[in-house]
Amino acid sequence: MNSNRSVQIAYAIGLVLLLIAPSLIYPVLIMKVLCFALFACAFNLLLGYTGLLSFGHAVFLGSAAYITGHALKVWELPTLLGILVGTAGAAGLGWVIGSLAIRRQGIYFAMVTLALSQMVYFFFLQASFTGGEDGLQGVPRGTLFGLDLADDTNLYYLVVAIFVGAFWLIQRTIHSPFGQILKAIRENEPRAISLGYDVAKYKLLAFVLSAGLAGLAGATKTVVFKFATLTDAHWHTSGEVVLMTLLGGMGTVFGPVVGATVIVSLQNELADKVGSLVTVIMGVIFVVCVLAFRRGIVGESIALYKRMIGEKTR
């Protein structure tokens, strides 16, 4: 009960912060953070709650970004519909990649997703509709219910709504019977099989859901920035989302959000200061997290909090 209420309080604080944030911080930056936070949450659904490490998740972010960009710019669809089309496209791609990848487990799964995403990356590089390395530029933001989304504030509240909605969906999934089965698979796959669950089907479903949500993040990102580029689909971005989740705390509700916030602001700040050492710093964070900080910022904080109030940790 106690922890339940504190979670509720945390939600409330978070929501209030989100609503007043644009008057304090640059709205486009927060929107970027939200997109990556959603991306990381989607990834966390797979890694943290199903135990599947996909090393090619950027490809879903990227494909949705391109599809939405194309839908808004060339087909001139309304904004929301464009985002939906992109999300659906990413989910579809997730189904294809997922059905191949779940044939292997553990490390192989990671390698297969990485290799397949590299293949899709090459496709985006060569295809003409993506604009190759120039990127798909000049995507219109459009309007929503008569509101002009070119205005940062209007768009901001749309992005917040999308984020909150998706976040709620992820929470519901985790706490649903479906989510419980996923956790069972993570903890002990053979046992889940022996209990009669069609593990492959559940894994695939989780993969498609995660890919779709990652796609939603990518689609929203395109609307925010008005472009989609190859970076979105590159394996470096896949590495980044792993880092965000790991740093924030995988398998925790807020971990990915915290991780994404830290990494995005780090990238934004470091841009002027250290120049070429950005990659090294990311690498060091990775190593430190794996060696000494495996529960991530949120996980470690919770553990610390529990120790302080004298609760036994599991």
Partner: protein, 412 residues
């Protein structure tokens, strides 16, 4: 202590007033500071082209300008690494324009970032003098002639120059090795057009993936084609590896290699032994005349590398901009832009350079041939200048422009 504080407050109150009074007399400069941003790739694949070198060059331009023209306004430089990510670049540039009062941005390597930054620049009505990115889209489909100038080079100039000049030298059959993405495709298209227009023939081509580690297979196909010229429509590591493999397979004995985006930095990385006899177009060569040598040696003292066309172009762009601000006494975008377009550019980088209506800065390009090791007299002495390609022939003619603003003007 108190008195000091009072004095400080007083001067803080008075100074801006005095400053703005001065500025008022000569027009307006926002915040009394002209702020120049260098947005570049400092860590990624393009960092050797521009990167820190462009920052050094921009700083030199500011220092030189201050020493020579004693401006009444302050000039500041900010720089950032966009990490080749369009979203990082576009975020940074928004922040610069909105909160830091940046007036002009230069370098902006990487076409994806440049196009994104150009959009923000237009939206915020600031100025971008692009010295780094290659895409012709910047002055065509995505042109914004009121805000964006493409200052140094583009894929058309790089392809057209050698395509025309080398073909005219009698090397009229070409084989093209193309990087299989938009950049390579546009180089391929422009080269092919130039070669055919000058009576040559493209006898074959092969498209290779980006970052292919092994080029021997493609070069064997080039060799088998018996073309007199093998054109490398690729960049960076791909070009370097192609040249290396070409050398190893003895292709350079009978065929001429033409790089379509090669700079002095690549030649330095590969060495003359490997690159001798290669031909390509570059917008600048440090060892061209006393003026370029003087500037380049100063640059070398600071950066430990000789400049290619990017830092040199960034220096020229910053200087041209500051002169326009000085002359008009304002940093208002429209006024400064008009002044820059009205004034021809004459410095060590460009002779009679001119900014056209589509935002393209036209200036002479150089067709160079890489020296034999025995001909090189000193480190970085790498080129024989085969031909100076006049600006109006080097760049895409206005008649072929796909820039909406230009097309609209034509209709009227």
């Amino acid at each position: 202590m108190k008195r000091k504080l009072l004095a400080l407050t007083l001067s803080a109150l008075l100074l801006p007033a005095a400053g703005s009074a001065l500025a008022q007399a000569k027009g307006k400069i926002s915040g009394d500071v002209v702020k120049i941003g260098v947005l570049t790739d400092m860590s990624g694949v393009y960092s050797d082209l521009g990167g820190q070198g462009s920052v050094v060059a921009a700083q030199m331009a500011i220092d030189d300008f201050k020493a020579k023209y004693k401006p009444t306004f302050k000039i500041e430089l900010v720089s950032a690494d966009h990490q080749n990510k369009a979203d990082v670049g576009s975020n940074k540039i928004r922040e610069w324009y909105d909160t830091q009062g940046v007036d002009m941005v230069t370098d902006v390597l990487n076409s994806a970032v440049a196009l994104a930054v150009a959009k923000v620049t237009t939206e915020k009505n600031k100025i971008m003098l692009n010295a780094g990115a290659a895409s012709t889209r910047i002055t065509n489909e995505d042109c914004a002639p009121n805000n964006v100038v493409h200052y140094v080079y583009d894929t058309y100039a790089l392809a057209n120059g050698p395509g025309k000049a080398v073909t005219k030298l009698g090397k009229d059959t070409w084989f093209l090795l193309t990087a299989d993405y938009a950049f390579g495709h546009s180089l391929e298209k422009d080269t092919t057009n130039a070669v055919i227009a000058n009576g040559g023939k493209v006898v074959g081509n092969v498209r290779h993936p980006l970052n292919a580690s092994d080029f021997s297979s493609f070069l064997l196909q080039a060799q088998a084609s018996k073309a007199k010229v093998v054109g490398l429509a690729n960049a960076g590591g791909d070009t370097i590896n192609s040249i290396k493999a070409a050398n190893e397979f003895g292709l350079t004995k009978n065929q001429t290699l033409v790089g379509l985006l090669t700079t002095v930095v690549d030649i330095h990385a590969l060495g003359l032994q490997t690159t001798q006899g290669m031909m390509f177009t570059e917008g600048f060569y440090w060892n061209l005349n006393p003026e370029t040598r003087e500037w380049s040696r100063r640059f070398f003292a600071k950066h430990k590398k000789m400049p290619n066309m990017l830092p040199a172009g960034a220096y020229s762009a910053v200087t041209h901009y500051l002169k326009a601000v000085q002359a008009t006494g304002t940093d208002d975008t429209a006024t400064v832009m008009k002044k820059m377009k009205d004034t021809p550019i004459n410095d060590f980088f460009a002779k009679n350079g001119k900014i056209r209506d589509d935002g393209r800065m036209v200036h002479d390009m150089l067709l160079v041939e890489v020296k034999k090791p025995s001909e090189s007299k000193e480190p970085w002495d790498y080129y024989n200048i085969k031909q100076v390609i006049p600006g109006d022939q080097a760049f895409q003619p206005m008649a072929a422009s796909r820039c909406p603003a230009v097309l609209a003007a034509k209709k009227k």
